[in-house]
Amino acid sequence: MDPFLLEAVLNGVLLGGVFALPVLGLNLVFGVVDVIWLCYAELVMVGMYIVWFLHTQAGWPLALAFATCLPAIAVLGLLLHLLVVRPLLAAPPINQVLATGGVLFVLQGAATLVFSTDFRSLGVEMPPIELGEVFVSGTKLAAFVAALLGAAVLWAFLKFTYVGTAIRAIARDREVMPLMGVDPHRIYLIASAAGGALAGLAACLLVVQLDVHPFVGLSFGPITFMICVMGGLGNMLGGFLAAFLMGLIVSVGGFYGDTDMSYVVAFLFFILVMFIRPQGLFTR
């Protein structure tokens, strides 16, 4: 196999790992609360700014900045739920989506006000790792491993804890669960915080690969929504697999043509999937 193609495939898998985290977070929130957070990528953007600011401006060690970012974005997710989503729980879904679209503007505007539109770089780079005849970026590999770990922790949380079981149950049937003694609002809060924490983790992994600017969310936001829908909204495993599929399309497409066109191909693929299997690629 052509080593450059192999490298593109490998990079696609790594990219899929990075897409996977926000996809899992979005699916978690959608599956439980039944609301699409249109501003999800902007939560990630805020997290990236937090890490960048704490590390380069305040001089904190990177690990401490990461450790602060996670709970901070979890709190942001909570606030989003309490201030915006909760008053709209009974509203038509479109009103909910548009309200979170408003939050997208708020976060972009706030980031522009505070940090201006300059591109900020963390300036952390790990040496590339040689695998046979292929070079892989060390930062991307580390981010990939961290993404898989995050996904595994989420899976264990949902599978083995009492709260996780309640979350899965409410995603299955939100009418009956309250009758079984589960307080849906408490579960909504936990899911929102967990969704936020996943955005925070995604921010830590992205900030080492991308420069931060107020509109960075628009560069990976749309594709994460598409991956969610492709995997089946609310379907964790489907979204996880679709993330790798999209990562491969983008990366291998970029190998044959230029990167922009590979996104066009990926989006067209998404539209096709919508027409062929609107319920999601991996839904039984």
Binding site: L83, N95, L113, F267
Partner: protein, 336 residues
């Protein structure tokens, strides 16, 4: 006949605005406001029947870029280029809409498919940078001396009349739709698609008619905006950002009233400009920040927008009928 007097009088009065020779800046705001209102009107036509598109920016972009490319590369005047651009956008709308409606992609899924479509157009414009100028944008060539009219290159007053005509066309389209059987069919479809289909409404066909109308107005707004600014840019004419702004215009003003998007456009432009004047250009984020907060507040407290508030006031006053209420079918009512 009496229903015609008021609109004609308002239009005539608006057409006289340039004769008062207002300052250029003021005219600029008015022209921008009307074109924004037109895009919002197009979006609201679909939005009020629960077809929420997050990709209307795509149609603005197609309209504008088809027109601009025809002028720059083939010397085809925008007088022809604008209709061709609108036709191209309508074609794209049909291409996207037909499978969507046939395969019943609705609700969240429709919103996300249109979002993808909007992004595709934006990225295509960026990727074809050799032709379109990419993210740096594109400037239509200046018309040769004496050929300004033929190239649709006017001063602000001239463009005011063009924009006014386009805006009036949008309101006319709204009114024609409101009085047609299509609007009744669409209201039924928005309530319950299966029930509507079971009483013989051809769901796909009715939705496609609506989409064509909505897309045409958006594309017209996009093409005229590009021509007015004499500058085309993928970020301001395609993609998620501009699509959401159109949505904001329609929602804030009220998408259930024909005049709602215009109110929304005036608020949006007014807000943007007053923030710019108040804070200067280094606070560019302030407008987006305030927009966002308003959008959230509108969704929570005033989902029918400002026009909805005004209508409620008018309806509450006894002995007065709602302006233009006769013969109109109330579009989908949001609960509460």
């Amino acid at each position: 006949m009496s229903g015609l007097v008021l609109p004609v009088a308002v239009l005539a009065a608006l057409a006289c605005v340039p004769l008062l020779s207002p300052p250029d800046y003021f005219m600029h705001l008015l022209v921008t406001g009307l074109l924004t209102a037109l895009a919002g009107t197009g979006w609201a036509l679909m939005g009020r029947y629960r077809l929420v598109s997050f990709g209307h920016g795509a149609f603005l972009g197609i309209g504008a870029y088809v027109m601009g490319l025809l002028w720059n590369y083939y010397g085809i005047s925008p007088w022809l280029g604008v209709p061709i651009g609108v036709a191209a956008a309508v074609g794209a709308g049909l291409l996207l809409g037909y499978p969507c409606f046939q395969l019943r992609v609705v609700g969240h899924y429709f919103a996300l498919v249109t979002l993808a479509a909007g992004e595709i157009v934006r990225i295509l414009i960026v990727a074809l940078r050799d032709v379109t100028g990419g993210s740096l944008g594109m400037t239509p060539h200046q018309a040769p001396p004496g050929g300004a009219f033929a190239a649709m290159q006017f001063d602000k007053a001239g463009f005011w009349w063009v924009a006014l005509a386009a805006w009036a066309l949008g309101l006319l389209a709204w009114r024609v739709l409101d009085r047609s059987m299509t609007s009744k069919a669409l209201a039924a479809i928005a309530e319950d698609e299966d029930a509507a289909a079971s009483i013989g409404i051809r769901v796909t066909r009715e939705k496609l008619k609506l989409t064509m109308l909505s897309v045409a107005l958006a594309a017209l707004a996009g093409a005229l905006t590009g021509q007015y600014r004499m500058y085309l840019n993928p970020e301001s004419l395609a993609g998620l950002g501009i699509s959401l702004q159109i949505v904001f215009v329609a929602i804030a003003g009220g998408m259930y009233s024909p005049i709602g998007p215009t109110i929304g456009a005036l608020i949006t432009i007014g807000l943007e400009e007053s923030l710019r004047v108040a804070f200067g250009t280094q606070f560019t984020g302030a407008a987006a920040f305030v927009y966002g907060i308003l959008l959230v507040l509108f969704m929570i407290f005033l989902p029918r927008g400002i026009a909805g508030l005004l209508e409620r006031r008018a309806a509450a006053r006894p002995g007065r009928r709602l302006a233009g209420a006769e013969g109109t079918v109330p579009a989908v009512q949001p609960p509460g």
